[in-house]
Symmetry: C2
Subunit: 340 residues, 2 copies
């Protein structure tokens, strides 16, 4: 099993690289919003300690290394992936009216919707500018063009997934295939891009790089389902209140499953509850009861497991050195086995 | 003076090319919003006649041709410029709470803010995907990378300008240099990109292409000032109500000029009026009176003229064939001389 330290180091490297890219420029407000959202400044512009950046860029660096590439060559791609992820978070928070992210006020709740839209737009433009620095890192121009195409295609898929997710909020008849379609894009697409880009930068052939992307997509989808489970049954000390996602009437996989699979009466009660604007404690308990009776948690764990298996099978079938396969598989296992 | 027909033909070509890129895909809503905004469908999804696309992509094609390139090679760049412009319009309408655009409901007023944010985000991702098709049109990969960098840098500048413009709404002490800084980015940057990309695609050297970009920026800035003037003194049959921008308390250049240059008492009255939430007819007349007394309209026409001159001087100093210079200059003149 992969231990945490290398990931922590990669996270810091991505953070440092990103900080070198995004300096304070004009107008100050735009760059303050970006630096605030990325965790480098507080609301008043005071500096904050490095926290390290997320999983997606680390997977990009790891894939590049596993294929024999130099990690630092992939930094522009890793940074781009992280910036696209953050662009989507800034806009998602506006769309979902989430006033907090990681226990800090969301950008929109500090500076308003209009400026938060600009902050997200700027992060997306910065993501592209970061990616194009691959050319300065010695990556062949044709590969940079292909990398840009991958980044943009995955970004568009992510927006497609987000559009669908918002549509689901107004519906109680979401099917399980529709839900899987949505998270394969909303979350899976960028994990796909992370591995795909890491492989391209390492000089991997197109077919191999695409396969690694597909593995990343399966991994990302498993990761999202794990998140869905933790949002209901996770350790409340880490995720906030117990059953937080029920309280917020989120239609995550356990609920979609129960809305499709629970016995008729339980299903009708669940729908009626989810149509209310505020849920009482007894509503929350009732929903949890329906999920338990339907076996929603077990279903989710099974589905996540099958996506994880798919991710590992894809890697296993690739013409890669045993070391590379082991490194990628151990990372996948590490990401998914915690907290379940 | 350049006659309208070639521009009309270029507009149709860009429209056709864009239609070939953006087909109906999943989820339908996302692509419906895009096709609606681009003027191809009505709210119910019914088809609309081709209208032709805007000035920016035409300038891109014209520049490419003026430098001896084939117009169709530049179509991916022209399409990308037009899509970036449209991404910004969709988001601007949300930010400005403009319920209409070209006498049609804005995307947000049909589908809500959250989905309109997605529509804009998707148009930006599509812009990048369009640009990368330059590689399929036979443009060298290194040039495509440079073109992508130009598109992203100009997009980021445009967002910087929009951030500043929104900040100005809350201020009555905007200086003239601040205002010029803003429109050189909000409007000028994408005109810069249009000419810069057209030149790059035609095989123009970096320095020459950048200079043409600078000329485009000056032209775009002049164009914006012309718009500012027409928004107050334009033909109401074309622009809506007379003095529409005053009614909406827009801080366009004539008003910024008067806020800086009117005699103290008139200035204080103007500020007081602009602090109200609704302007009466007599308020509008009073504002117009201050602008007239201060010579705001003449000032704007002079400033627009000096930007136009700068645009023409840059072109004139370039090592280009006399024919190319004449074509570019005549187009600039055509764009700016109508309606003033």
């Amino acid at each position: 099993m992969l231990t945490a330290p290398p990931l922590a180091r990669y996270r810091r490297e991505v953070d440092q690289y990103l900080r070198s890219l995004i300096s304070a420029q004009d107008p100050p407000l735009l760059y303050r919003m970006a630096r605030y959202h990325l965790g480098w400044e507080d609301v008043d512009g005071g500096s904050l300690e490095a926290e390290g950046k997320g999983l997606r860029p680390c997977l990009c660096l790891l894939t590049c290394e596993a294929l024999g590439g130099a990690r630092e060559t992939a930094l522009p791609a890793a940074a781009a992936i992280e910036l696209v992820h953050n662009f989507s978070l800034v806009h998602d928070d506006i769309q979902d009216r989430d006033a907090e992210r990681h226990h800090r006020p969301a950008v929109w709740s500090v500076w308003g919707d209009a400026q938060a839209i600009n902050a997200g737009d700027a992060l997306l433009a910065m993501a592209h500018l970061a990616l194009l620095r691959l050319a300065d890192a010695g990556v062949a121009a044709a590969t940079v063009v292909e990398a840009a195409r991958v980044l943009d295609a995955r970004t568009l898929e992510m927006v497609e997934g987000q559009t669908m997710d918002l549509e689901f909020e107004r519906r109680l008849d979401v099917t399980l295939p529709e839900y899987m379609w949505m998270i394969e894009r909303k979350t899976g697409a960028l994990f796909d891009g992370a591995l795909h880009l890491g492989a391209l930068v390492a000089g991997g052939e197109d077919a191999l790089s695409r396969q690694l992307g597909a593995s990343g997509r399966a991994l990302g989808t498993a990761f999202q389902i794990r998140d869905d489970v933790l949002g209901i049954w996770g350790d409340a000390s880490k995720t906030g209140k117990p059953a937080e996602d029920i309280r917020r009437r989120k239609k995550s996989l356990p609920v979609v499953y129960a809305l499709n699979e629970a016995p008729r009466l339980a299903r009708e009660n669940l729908k009626a509850t989810y149509e209310r604007s505020d849920l009482s404690e007894s509503d929350v308990s009732a929903v949890l009861g329906v999920l338990d009776a339907t076996g929603a948690r077990d279903h989710c764990i099974t589905v996540a497991g099958s996506y994880k298996d798919r991710a590992l099978e894809i890697v296993d079938a690739l013409p890669l050195a045993a070391d590379a396969k082991r490194e990628l598989s151990e990372t996948a296992a590490f990401l998914l086995e915690r907290d379940f």
